[in-house]
């Protein structure tokens, strides 16, 4: 699981690549720690390379969304693969995290 974080002025672009599962979730959490800081975060995540997520991965997205919301920021997940999107749909996560 690869996480690339790039700051472009006011926005943070994140590119995800690989599988988010039991074995990669802890590392992912460490990788996204910088996104848990700062006021008014504006985060766009490119999920085109995200091959898979289990409930472990969903937990990370939920924590991130709660953190971003508490800091009055925005989080958008982009270009999710249909399989991964289905996991967000089944669990109702599509209703609480913005997916475009």
């Amino acid at each position: 699981m690869e996480v690339k974080i790039e700051n472009t002025g006011t926005q943070t672009l994140v590119v995800l690549k690989g599988r988010l599962d039991t074995t990669t979730a802890d590392k992912f959490m460490q990788d996204i720690t910088p996104l848990m800081q700062g006021d008014n975060p504006d985060i766009e995540m490119d999920c085109a390379g995200l091959e898979y997520t289990s409930s472990q991965g969903l937990r990370m997205f939920l924590m991130l969304q709660k953190s971003v919301t508490s800091r009055k920021g925005n989080l958008v997940l982009k270009d999710m693969k249909p399989n991964v999107k289905e996991v967000f749909d089944i669990t109702g996560f599509s209703n609480i995290i913005k997916i475009v």
Partner: protein, 135 residues
């Protein structure tokens, strides 16, 4: 085919790969995604909670039924009796503030598989998952 893992501490990934490499598994990528997810959620449950510190065994297996149309995955352990199907489903319509972290794994498995059955027999937890794999 089936295999015994002992002890199961930190073996989640190995057990998933063993089951996913079974010749009984379908080739279809979409089905494999759903099967992998269901396997991960249920195996991880046993590895984390069945035994103290993961010191114990787990037998996993796959089989085909109904002329190869239905795939059955079975997980068996001798840990503390636990029926994951008794847990109530999470409320997926709650707003963000009220959503809790956890409880989603078994729910996903129940949604993605056609049938998930649990029984406690001879001191063992036996979880069986079935999925039609004809295309």
């Amino acid at each position: 085919m089936k295999k015994l893992f002992n002890p199961i501490k930190d073996k989640t990934a190995e057990i998933i790969e063993y089951l996913m490499s079974s010749p009984d598994m379908p080739k279809d990528e979409d089905l494999r995604f759903k099967l992998r997810l269901s396997i991960e959620e249920t195996v991880e449950n046993v590895v984390q909670y069945a035994y103290k510190d993961g010191i114990g065994w787990m037998e996993v297996g796959t089989a085909l039924e109904k002329n190869g149309l239905t795939l059955t995955i079975t997980l068996k352990d001798a840990g503390k009796p636990f029926n994951p199907l008794e847990k109530s489903d999470p409320d997926i319509n709650l707003p963000l503030e009220e959503r809790e972290i956890g409880g989603l794994g078994i729910y996903l498995c129940k949604q993605l598989m056609d049938e998930v059955l649990y029984r406690y027999e001879d001191g063992c937890n036996i979880l069986t998952m079935k999925k039609e794999i004809s295309k």
